[in-house]
Symmetry: C2
Subunit: 344 residues, 2 copies
Amino acid sequence: MSKGGRKTIKDVAAAAGVSIGTASRALNRRGRVSETTVARVTSAAQRLGYQPDAIAQSLRLKSTMVVGMLVTDLSNPFFAGVIRAAERRLQESGYALLVGNTDNDLTREQQLIDLFRRRRVDGLILGPCEAENTGMIGDLEAADMPVICYDRDFDEGLSGLHVAHRKAAYDATRHLLNLGHERIALLSSSIKLSPGRERIAGYRQALEERGLPFREDLIRAHQSSMEFVKSEAYSLMSIRPAPTAFISLGTRMLAGTLEGLRDNGWRVPEDVSVLTVGDTDLARLYVPAISTVTWDLNSVGENLAELMLRRLAPETGSEPRRIMIPTKLIDRGSCARPGRLIGD
Amino acid sequence: MSKGGRKTIKDVAAAAGVSIGTASRALNRRGRVSETTVARVTSAAQRLGYQPDAIAQSLRLKSTMVVGMLVTDLSNPFFAGVIRAAERRLQESGYALLVGNTDNDLTREQQLIDLFRRRRVDGLILGPCEAENTGMIGDLEAADMPVICYDRDFDEGLSGLHVAHRKAAYDATRHLLNLGHERIALLSSSIKLSPGRERIAGYRQALEERGLPFREDLIRAHQSSMEFVKSEAYSLMSIRPAPTAFISLGTRMLAGTLEGLRDNGWRVPEDVSVLTVGDTDLARLYVPAISTVTWDLNSVGENLAELMLRRLAPETGSEPRRIMIPTKLIDRGSCARPGRLIGD
DNA sequence: ATGAAAGCGCTAACAC
DNA sequence: GTGTTAGCGCTTTCAT
């Protein structure tokens, strides 16, 4: 028995009275092995509590059975839910998921990618990041690293998944327009990149279809510090004539918006309508409950895993695939016809 | 250059005109190497974009530089925050964090532990799990696997961390007692194990210090399905004389409790006081904001990482350490003196 | 100071 | 069907 109490295949082979090679074949049921030896080896392994060393296997087989995933912030419930689902699906197929936080920093993202490559992950799922470096993804694929993109731009020839953010924002805006709103404020995280850019586009499209102007001054896009959002909400509230509805894009946005409105004494939905994109506990349980355009986090995670597994098993036929996750509007009563004009 | 475009140390050695062994020593600055060769090798490595293969290193050095962590549910914001902080601290020291979800299932937990062992993680951080198997932890340590426990029972001789759940519940209960409440309902996830058991103990202690009876019928302990919590809240509301205050232990509990109260038309805090253990967006932004006893997730994560790093670096002096994370009460106005008796 | 060689634990190619 | 051997990429003796 080898040092450290850990049994190796050598111990198993010895215990079963066969050679190392035979033991390996028996355990993996590969090649030609007699049923009797399979039985002897298996039982010896069982008895010794043998567990193959995944590191040695990885070195030999050139596959770690680990998939890496990068998100901006693991503690954002939207990512946490997706990761959870992806991990589960991957685990079913024997893969582990290694997660890294980029903190929305391009340098950190690159560091993590290098780290994951050093660790020889079999594939990489890349979530959205503040800045993008499209060339980098091509480089990875060129270096034989399968990449699946998630809410992030990517070239033809690659696989990836997008939530239908454009449609989500479009539907949200239309919902408010249909109620008669004409000045709809928007709070978003970043408008330069997917998914923020998509959302603005949807918002804009809905307005333009009604012949309403797209007003920059009704839009605020920032990092999602809660205090910051609140002050942006204040600033929007001071516009005259005042906006009659607020759309918040993203969890953190909603919290700041609601707090801002509450502190100013604006009631929802009597004084102002509120709609959020992305559902949360807060939206569900606020009084009144906040209407939302949302989507299924589980589905996102499972589909990401599925895309990756497909890339990892070339025989499945690996032409690139793009998945679009649909969104749906849940009406909860935080939106009403525009009421009395505020501060006017 | 070896296959797949990946440079190995062999390529570097060749490019620098030295042997493989020398290249290794130069890159790691270990043993006797001349400064000039160090320079030659380093620049060759740089030029080729060489990255050492972590798998091969692991096999040789018997250390993967990976720490495993098990929690019941990654998408629970409490765990997500802790993981995030732990990951960051570990990464500073060159370790990666591999996370697994147990789904509160003992079997799954054991499977994951086996999986992590096969992958040769250098250490294991074990979060709370519905059922416990204290022997298992001893087995792991006996098999040379460093374990750090988190809100979970563990024997002398091991290191671990606990949030001061008992004190948290004690403080919460005292706060309500001081306001004049005598019938305080409690909604918890599980009362059999840490941390649920600790919390009940704190609640009980506070009551007994006031000479008030500990009433089983005011306590509900269950898995945290939202619908279930709501129905438990209903049941508590129908007791006569009715409870005048509710303590919810855990995030999910609060959501169900608030919904139950709202559906029944009980106003907070006029009709009933509410206090939650563990702060969340929902508690902060509900109207009225919900008072809470909370603690610092960052600190939990960092301390867990610190404990693990200490165990992993024996020279630091590795006598077992126990860390207790303090809690603090944040009063937000969801608690008031008991009002009119409801339904009585 | 450097090169040659052994070996971490495993699988696959090749003999028999 | 089974044993022997090479080798994955790296670090670390041990000679020189």
